[in-house]
Amino acid sequence: MSQDTLFDKVWDLHKVSSLPGGTDQIFIGLHLIHEVTSPQAFGALKDKNLKVKFPSRTIATVDHIVPTDTQSRPFKDNLAEQMISTLEKNCLQHKIKFFNIGSGNQGIVHVVAPELGLTQPGMTIACGDSHTSTHGAFGSIAFGIGTSQVRDVLASQTLAMNKLKVRQIWCENKLSNGVYAKDLILHIINKLGVKAGVGFAYEFAGPAINALSMEERMTICNMSIEGGARCGYINPDEKTFNYIKNKLYAPKNEHWEKALLWWKSLKSNENSIYDDVIKLDASKVEPTITWGITPGQSLGINQQIPLLNELSPNDQFIAEEAYEYMGFKPGQSIKNTSVDVCFIGSCTNGRISDLRVAAKVLKDKKVSEKVKAFVVPGSETVANEAKKEGLDKIFKDSGFQWREPGCSMCLAMNSDKLIGNQVSASSSNRNFKGRQGSPSGRTLLMSPAMVAAAAINGKVSDVREFLIK
């Protein structure tokens, strides 16, 4: 059993009681909500005649269903309009702070909370979205929940949970040039498997993790869930503190010094005991792409799609399903695979640094004529900053469409969808069958820089070839 890790300290601090069934009752310090998984929870509160226990600890925004072409109200899609207006009503009625479209702070919930300074070390954070693990980048314990649990957090600010085990994933050395956080996390999921994390919190650590920026760390923690871990985190350091400082909701004045002192006390240390430790060499990671229908089915840009007998018996069944669905032959190269749609955005890779990296690749280049390419900033703040830096112009000049913030084609709940069996090069997090809106659509997950390279060539390319020139 783990001891003295950041996870243990934060868990113990938030434990309210041991429940009769044997689970722990855990206080949730910050609850984030959005339009898709909250309406039924508010409905249940009404049915049970309950109120929101601590309205100040819940923050709302709208992201999943928002259109990215025009966001004028009412939305063209009646159902989407119904969902946003239900959220507006619920927030108003329960006195919950809501960052609506046009507020300047709307965006993907996992982009918005960190950039407002709401996400801080040592917190427990829950949200009705599996990518809540993102917030672990700050040394918080953050996990996705379902709608009934959203109801429970609204009603009691607590959850009934079994404590997780802790696995440290130690990343030695540094990522090489042209290799990004996205490549590292895809590599980790490939090595450990998509279900290895069940029952675990992942602590990402080591020189390669320390070298990452806060936004890159968010990319890493964001995809913990794709490796089966409901929660992933990184111990806070000076980069964490500098990122938070002066943000809208950051502790101010005399509170700042107190916060710093407390945050520094939370870190795992040399006395920490883990349930499991895994070490890997980050310098060996290549630009990594998925070829299949789970985020674990990935390979380096210069590798070939695995043969069936190269895979463990447990992975063979899903591999056969993937060959057929994706139309790939075992042993085939992934490089030069033709792509139809290029998407940059999502809670994994829709932040300002992601847009900067992609814009650097696209500058003075043109997107292949056969490709539809679009970029969806993660938030209004990201969009405004990008415009200030002139990135929107670089994207538009290259042939990318510049859109309004939202989740967009990561899960295709709005009108941004693949058509038929189109292949997308996507900076998002899931390549499941049908994920991007077409039941036969095919997704290749990769870093934003790799999406930019694919857009220019119209086919899967090694972005390092662009960076040398």
Partner: protein, 204 residues
């Protein structure tokens, strides 16, 4: 599909029903209920859309479309079932189709806790046992009587022990799976925690 849906309530001691096998590892919640069906403010209409795209692809051959599986209520699955999105719409859709319990090799974590929160027990068995059940179920109907007190499944031909997390088993037996009222019993402790957490002081 059942015509009338009544959600489970209170103590869950046993589940009796016909099995339906769904073969495949890593079946994600996008496949269980594609995202376009999440545009709703209640769960009522989800039952008919469960596995919509997979069913469309298989044109009537999907287990959820086969006549022999009509009125089945115990789903037999393989490994890492329910991975991906945290959408509770996935177990809600299964439940509204008629599923009352799931037996599998392993479950994704958020899916498992969503099932617990809405009253669907998820049991585990070793890979080989699951495959044997699925094989048996290929040709013959399998009716199971699951006793949660003993974690035991009985049928005409087969009897086997099921694994379930002890805390989950207790919560089903006591009714505590429907957690809100249990959590609110500790209202004083919750308020004490709210006033004692360091960061809620320096964020005020």
């Amino acid at each position: 599909m059942k015509s009338k849906f009544t959600p489970p309530m209170g103590q869950i001691n046993q589940i009796i029903g016909k099995c339906i096998s769904l073969i495949g590892n890593d079946i994600d919640t996008d496949r269980i209920i594609p995202a376009r069906f999440l545009k709703c403010v209640n769960f009522d209409s989800l039952g008919k859309s469960v596995f919509e795209d997979d069913r469309e692809t298989l044109k009537g051959k999907h287990p959820f479309d086969l006549d022999k599986n009509n009125n089945a209520s115990i789903l037999i699955v393989n490994s890492n079932f329910g991975c991906g999105s945290s959408r509770e719409h996935a177990p809600q859709a299964l439940m509204r189709w008629g599923i009352k319990a799931i037996i599998g090799e392993s479950f994704a974590e958020i899916f498992y806790s969503n099932c617990l929160a809405i009253g669907i027990p998820c049991f585990t068995l070793p890979k080989k046992s699951i495959q044997n059940i699925q094989k048996y179920n290929e040709n013959k109907s399998l009716f199971l009587e699951i006793d949660l007190k003993k974690s035991l499944a009985k049928s005409k031909d087969l009897n086997f022990d099921l694994d379930i997390k002890e805390s989950s088993r207790k919560m089903f037996l006591s009714g505590e799976w429907d957690a809100t009222s249990t959590l609110l019993e500790n209202e004083n402790l919750i308020e004490n925690k709210f006033y004692s957490l360091p960061y809620l002081k320096f964020n005020s």
